[in-house]
Subunit: 311 residues, 2 copies
């Protein structure tokens, strides 16, 4: 049995798993705490590798490789993270540093690309021509055509989160204004909920006071009948839907798959997106199916584990 | 010598040429007058084919094939135009109707794809990995990777003009709001100039009264020192620049090529776009060159002529 470690480095959590034969055997997750800087984050990644290696009972030598999906733009050959606004990283030699610290062969890819690869390999049918949109701390895009990942002309394509939703709009941490990511990733929902809580909305203020003002809790409140939370979530899903219409108009994919932290919200998110797509897509007569990632939030771990380290 | 006819069906003009060995021998252009309906437009296309066939001195039999680039979404196998907002066409069997009327083998492709193909084949160096943005009556996108045209998963990709610039913004003729095309194609500039003319701007009112309120004349006025025209053109170029940043963030192309009706404006357009790109691109450290189509407005004709008719 060949064990591999797959890791999904997110803006909020680092999720990692021990994988064998495309199955996730053990899963671990720790907060990213990106504000503590790249050294601290990489140290946490290394600790996760040690924990998971210990799980397979053979120490690091029992693991064949480590694959990491990271947000932002990655140079595939070197495994350098060129820029990542959500982590605040610029030119970080991630592959080299993880390789030195763990002794493992390491591969680094874009997180949404990894999720798309995971879905394409292990997500079941109709995944050979798809656009996978990840919604979490950021917005990512992975595209699979004819069963093969499209990684862009120079390895850094797919920064779909940094295309305009509202030109000249809110300032994004990438430096540009009005990026889709500024409206269609969880921090946008959390900021809006924070404003509503500060403005006196009782259920949202309670969440805030309990320190639970996160995407999952705001969605739970919306599903539970809180009007204000439902309105915020509806607007948030509307922005994701704008992104889906853009994707469909631009790429005409065989299928749109939505993954990342939003995956557990299922039909509650999908139904209004499908409705928007049917109203607004350029080719209304042939809409691709819009589905959640079959592997949910684990697509990125499984895809990262499947990356082949370059020697 | 094998003669082919290439035709670039635009929202404003139908341009066509007799092509041999990648050279444009004769060029003809007539107004499209899309408002007269598809029968009238197709009749004008057929007349152009007859004129150009006569030029090569052998009648229709002397021409090997007809290739047509059309705006909107095309189904490549059938040569049907599924939808084109600029012409107001929906499900028009263009290949079949042109084939019946001319007796020629006919190929139909998207206009921006044709322009990209023309540039890739005949546009000189550095065209094997590029994104070609056409700016004219509409906004089109053709993508070439490794020397091959990327025509999308189901043949209708690249409706980049119908991705959002300003979500919820101005109503586009595709039915959606805030599309890039609504802001970054010539009709947007002409509408703004019309408003300025109606508001009393003397140079623009003169253009209007002379019936010359078109893109080229408004650009000429801006270059000539008219402040209002220069401000309108600057804002227009800014929107094109927004589109270029989106393209670069999304596709990371080796080169951005700008074609279509705006091609003759050269550096006047390119310089502010490059400046915006250097300020706003996600990966500021490696910006692709931004250049005008080497073949100018003829790229679409040459690329259409190079299409291979399906039997």
């Amino acid at each position: 049995m060949e064990y591999r470690i797959g890791m999904d480095l997110g803006g909020t959590n680092i999720a990692a798993g021990l994988v064998a034969g495309g199955e996730l055997l053990v899963r671990r997750s720790v907060p990213t705490r990106a504000a503590e800087g790249e050294h601290a984050v990489i140290a946490r990644m290394v600790s996760l590798v040690r924990e998971l290696s210990a799980e397979c009972g053979a120490g690091p030598g029992g693991v064949a490789s480590l694959g990491v999906g990271t947000p932002g733009a990655v140079e595939p050959d070197s495994g350098r993270v060129l820029f990542c606004n959500n982590l605040g990283w610029r030119d970080v030699a991630l592959r080299e540093r993880l390789g030195e610290a763990t002794g493992l062969p390491v591969a680094v890819g874009n997180d949404a690309d990894c999720a798309a690869l995971g879905e394409a390999l292990f997500g079941g049918e109709r995944r050979s021509d798809m656009a996978l949109l990840t919604i979490g701390t950021g917005v990512g895009l992975g595209v699979v055509r004819d069963g093969t990942l499209v990684t862009g002309m120079r390895g850094a394509a797919g920064e779909f989160g940094h295309t305009t939703l509202i030109a000249g709009g809110e300032l994004c941490s990438c430096g540009r204004r009005g990026c889709l990511e500024r409206y269609a990733a969880f921090p946008a929902l959390i900021r809006a909920a924070q404003r509503a809580a500060d403005g006196g909305d009782i259920p949202l203020a309670r969440l805030r006071d309990e320190g639970c003002l996160n995407g999952r809790e705001i969605f739970a409140l919306a599903r539970g009948g809180s009007e204000r939370a439902a309105a915020l979530v509806s607007s948030f899903i509307g922005h994701i839907g704008d992104g889906v219409v853009n994707l469909v108009n631009l790429l005409d994919p065989g299928c749109v798959v939505i993954g990342g932290g939003i995956a557990p919200e299922g039909e509650y998110v999908l139904a209004p997106i499908r409705e928007k797509l049917s109203r607004e897509a350029y080719l209304g007569q042939r809409l691709p199916p819009v589905v959640m990632a079959a592997l949910g939030g684990d697509a990125g771990i499984l895809g990262a584990a499947a990356l082949t380290p370059r020697q």
